[in-house]
Structures are given as structure tokens and as C-alpha cells.
Amino acid sequence: MIKRLIVDFAYFINTSGKYQKKKHFFYDLLENNSYKYKKYFDIFMITLIFISVVIFIQEVKSEVDTRLLYFNNYIISFIFLVEYLLRLWISSSISKTIIEQSEHDFILGEKFRFFKAFKNILIIKFRYILSFKAIVDLLAIIPFFHQLRLLRIFILFRVFKLFRYAKSIQTFTSVIAAKKFEFFTLFIFASIIIFVSSVLIYVMEANHPDSSITTLFQAVYWSIVTISTVGYGDITPITQEGRVVSMFVIIAGIGVFSFTTSLIVTSFTEKLDEIKDLKLIDDISKIKEFYLICGYGTVAKEVAKKLSIHNKVIILDEDEEIVSRATKDGFIALNYDPGTTQSYHKLKINIKSQVKAILCLGKNDVENVYTALTIRSFNKDVFILSILKNKVNKNKLNFAGVNEIFYEKELVGIVAKEFVGKHVAFEAIHALRSSYNGIDVNEIRITQRIIKNYQKIADLDNKKYRIVLLGVYKTKEKQFFFNPIDDTLFENGDYLLVIGNTQFLKEFNVLLNKKN
């Protein structure tokens, strides 16, 4: 009966929207780096840690206000305790474990084994409690329970908590962790030298009446000071034999020191690209809207240059050299294969909300078809355009779900026609298209706000702004009305096609959208 209730309750919790929403909120706040309010939470916690440490230092030599001590011992510790419990809560899901166990037992036709589920829950939770980060968190709370002087040291564990909140420290540890084996070797090497040399120096010096090395601890202290190339000089060997030992230790010290430095430097250089990439991916996930260009060739370069005037552009290419060239050209470029779904997962790009359009501008049709198909496999709606290199592949691109295809040779043919036709007219249009002489053709979207101020064509003040109104594009009818009559009414979503000085066009647009 109780078991039944427990399982029902677990199902209820697991499916409750409110509960899951709350849990998700705390997960975002504590663990999700891309959650925008996590930053403020981290800053708050870091401030608490520093306050705690400052009070700790203050306490060493002088009396501290009891209220401050109270704040330090109870309030901060309490906040840390709450954080600890929340982390314990979100680390895993109890209800899920119960449900899994009950379903497992149900399928096997057995009774629900509550104790097995309970054991699993304990194992999972303890695994979290025993993790390094959780231990640090726990120790940081301890001053809450102990008033003993010595245990105050535990306050310093709060400093270790900084690892959780500062990203750069995390990066540093990950870099060091990547060279675990090398550091371990170095540590063993240094330990052996320290051990051998301290025993040697103790044997050589301990019995000499003038020697300052009288205990093994002093010998170890001396050899660590020497091997680290610090060399305080408070303890120095005075016997001939002792000095010979120190010469060896000094030489070994140089070796250890340079090995350590080079290790850190190389691990950083090796990881640098990766770190940069991660930072870039992080930045990209914060961009609201951008064009994604897959493949970087000559056409892509021109397109990116033009698009980046008013938009954000991100380039993907699988060739490292090409990516570095794109970066040199001043674009955000990433070395990922645009033809694999994995790349988009790794990049954390939300195609639906972030990408305005995807441009397949790879060096051949095979690449473009592949890229288009990859994207279509997980997103049906995003606008994809592609260039076509060889006419016979047009159908393949269509089949891959490309919305718009550009065949370079055909475009050139069309332009060629302009040259032999009406020169002046074409040139005029071209000049307009390329904002030459500061004159631009633009489309202005009619919004509700504009309609409030201007209901029909006759209301517009375009002549005053020296703007030619070419016509209205009616979105509903999907038709362009050239030179519309004065009574033409605007509808939400229509477009005005206007020609004029770039500056005046801007002002005109502002005027249209002004609150009346």
C-alpha cells in the first residue's frame, strides 16, 4: 500500500509541470552557463566568499564586531547550506529512479522492490556528495557548526568554492588536467630527488657541530627550498660532502623548474585554439540573428563582406586553412564540417530562432547538396539558398530542399544582356542597387504603428524628403502596385518601395514610425 503510494507520488512529481519548472530554474541558475541570470548569482556568491575571507583576516589580530561574526557564521553559512542542498537536489532525480525501478520490476512481473530503489537513490546521491566539488561545498559550510579556532581554517574552503563560479579558473584547471600524466611524472621525479637529497644532506650534516641541519624535517625543508630554486639561505650546508649534494640538487632544481614552466606553456598553447573556439561558440549562442555561410570561397567572401555591413555573419568550413583565412578577413569563422549534424549540436546554434538564412556556398555541388540535406534532416523551415556550379545538378539541390538556387553562369548571362540592351536605364538601376552616390532603393515594411499615422498613399510626405515612391507591394495579394493612386490603403505587412538619398530614407523611416 505504502509502496503503491510512493510510486504514484513519484509519477505525479515527475509529470508535474510546476515542480519540473522549478527544478529546471534552479538547474539553470546553478549549472547552466548560458543562462543569463547565472552570472548575477555567481557574482553574488563570489562577493559572499570575499566578505567571509576579509572577516577571517580581520579576526586574526583584532576584535571584529559581533554582528559581522554573526553574519559570517550564520547567514553566509546558511546561504551556502541552502546552495548545497539545492545542488544535491538537482544533481539527480529521485522520482525518476523510483519510476525506473518500478517499471523494471513491472516488466519482469515482479513486485516493486522499494529497498532496491532506495539503495539506488542513495548510491547516486552519495556519488555526488563524494565528488570533489561537493566536498569543498560541504567543508565551506562547516564554520556554521564549529566555533573552535582551529576549524576556522575551513573558511578557506570557501575560497576553493571560487572554482565553481569563475570560468577562467575552470579553464585553467582543465588545461592542467590535460597534462595529468606529465605532471605526475614530474611530481614523482621531484619527490625522489627531494627524498634522496634530504636523506643525504641529513647523513652528511646532522652530526657536524656547526651545521644548522639537525633534524630530518630541516633536511627536507632545505631540499625543497633548494630544488625549487628559491634558496632562502637560512639553512646552508657547511661540510664538503653536503655542498656536493647541494650542487646536484641545484642542477636538478633547474631541470624541474624549466620542465614545469614548459609543461604549463605547452599545455596552454595546445589548448589555446580549443579555448578560443569554446569562447567563440559561447559568443555565438548569444547572437540574436545571423546568416550562416557554409563553405568559404570567393563568392562566399564577397557575400559575407556585403552582408556583414548590416548583419552578423558566421562562416563554417571544414578546411582549417580556409577558416583561418576567413578569420583574417575579419569574419567569425569556425572549423566545423557543415555537412554533419554533430557540428550544429556542438555549436549550440538554435537554427529556428537564431539563423536568418543558411547559405550553401561550398566549392562544389556535392558539398552543397550534402550540407542542405544535413540541415533539412533536422530543420524543415529554415531558408536555405545555394549556388549551383553545374547545371545538371539543379534537381539534386531542389530535392535536397534548397529554397533558392543561384546558377552563376546564368546570372552572368543575364547581366550580359543588360550591357547590350538599354545601357543608360540599366546603369541607372545598377547605380541605385549598389547605393552608388548615396542613392538607394529600399523597402519599408508597413507596420500597425505606421498605419496609425498614415492610412493611405496620399498621407505620405515622401516628396518633402525627396523620395520617389515606386509603388506598394501588397503582401496579401502578392502583387506589386506601381505608382499607386492616392486612395490606396495600407495594410499591415505591405511594403513601400522607395528610392532616395540614404540619409533621407532613414529619416523618412523614422518619421513614419513616429508616435503621433
Partner: protein, 224 residues
Amino acid sequence: MKEKYALIFGHNDYTLEIKKNIVSEYEAVYVLSLEDESENSFDLSDDWDTVDKKYKMKDCVAFCILEDMAENIFLTISLRDTFKDLTIVALAKDKEGADKLTLAGASRVLPTTQTTANVIVEMLEKPIVTEVLHNILYEESDLKIAQIKIKNHELFDGKHLTDIDWSREHGIIVISVVHEDGSKEFIYSAKSKHHKIKMGDIFVVVGYEQDIKDFEKLIGNKND
């Protein structure tokens, strides 16, 4: 004077597309391939007499569309060197090639990369403008763009360009005006605002075919 024939130098993917688009503008379009055994071929030596005799170069416009940039530039230079007044339209891959071809004496340069990039960007940034202009330029609609030379300036009696409400009175939209010295001005630019309409001005207008015809009748003839 308008040329009667078009000569396309080079046989490749571009040839077909260009030929398709210009064939209606000329009496004949000839394609010559480079160093081919066939009849319609040419080489890059300096002997243009046979080509000249066969096609009468003074009636021709030349399209240099060899895919090798160096060869194309060489072809342009040798054509320009032999035929001083020939109109040469040359194909360039990029900006650098375009500059070189202009130096080599090409009258017009078709930069392929630039063209493609422009079209793509326009389509993305101004889809409606692109669609409408495309329809106007490539004659898929009743809307036309035309250039009309003023031959009857008395009609406007020294009026300024902007004094007249072209769209209401004549049903056309004047976009820009080309002065006698060849300089182009947008209709609302500071300079053309004070410009009195005079003989020889060329108007670039957009309008429905019939309205343009009526307007032409009123002020002059179509200028080709």
C-alpha cells in the same frame, strides 16, 4: 550606332547562357572557340585579318569569356590593339581581374564573383526590391524601364525637373536624368533640383508600356 553581330570568344558554360540572353538583340551571334580544329575558331596570334574579313569587326560587339584569366586578358589586349573602336565585353573572375581587363581596354567588364554575390545579398536583404526590379529589367511584367530623350523642351517652358508631378500627370516615374555631358543625376539630387529641362536631356523612367509610349510621343523619341 548599334552593332549588328555579336562575337563570343571562348566556348564554355558561360557561352550558352550569354548567347541565350543576347540572341534577341542581334542579327546573329557567332561563337568562336580557342584553337579548335573546327571552322569557327581563333588563336591568340596577332593575325586578326581572317576573323575581320569573315565577320566585319566594325559591325560587331565582342565578348571575351575565356576561362583562363591570363588568356582572356591577352585576348582583350590584342583585340583592342587591332580594333580601336570595337566594343569589348569581358568576363572577369574577381575584382583584380576586372581591374586588369579594364586596363587591357575592355569596354565593359562582367565580374562573375561580384555579380553572384550581389544577387545573393540583394535577394536576402531586399527581397521585394529585387523581385520588382527583376521583373522590370527582364521584362516579365507590363512594367518597363526606358530612357527617353527630350526633343521637345518647349513643352516644359523652362520648368524645373521637380516642378512637375510626373507620376500623376503622365503616369510614369522619372528616376534619374542624364545630362548632355553624360553625367547621371538622381531626380531629387541637389543638382537636378535646380536643373531646367532642356533639349537633349535623357530621362530614365519607369512605367507601364502604354504610358511610356504616350510620354515618348509627347516629348520625343526613344533613344537607343
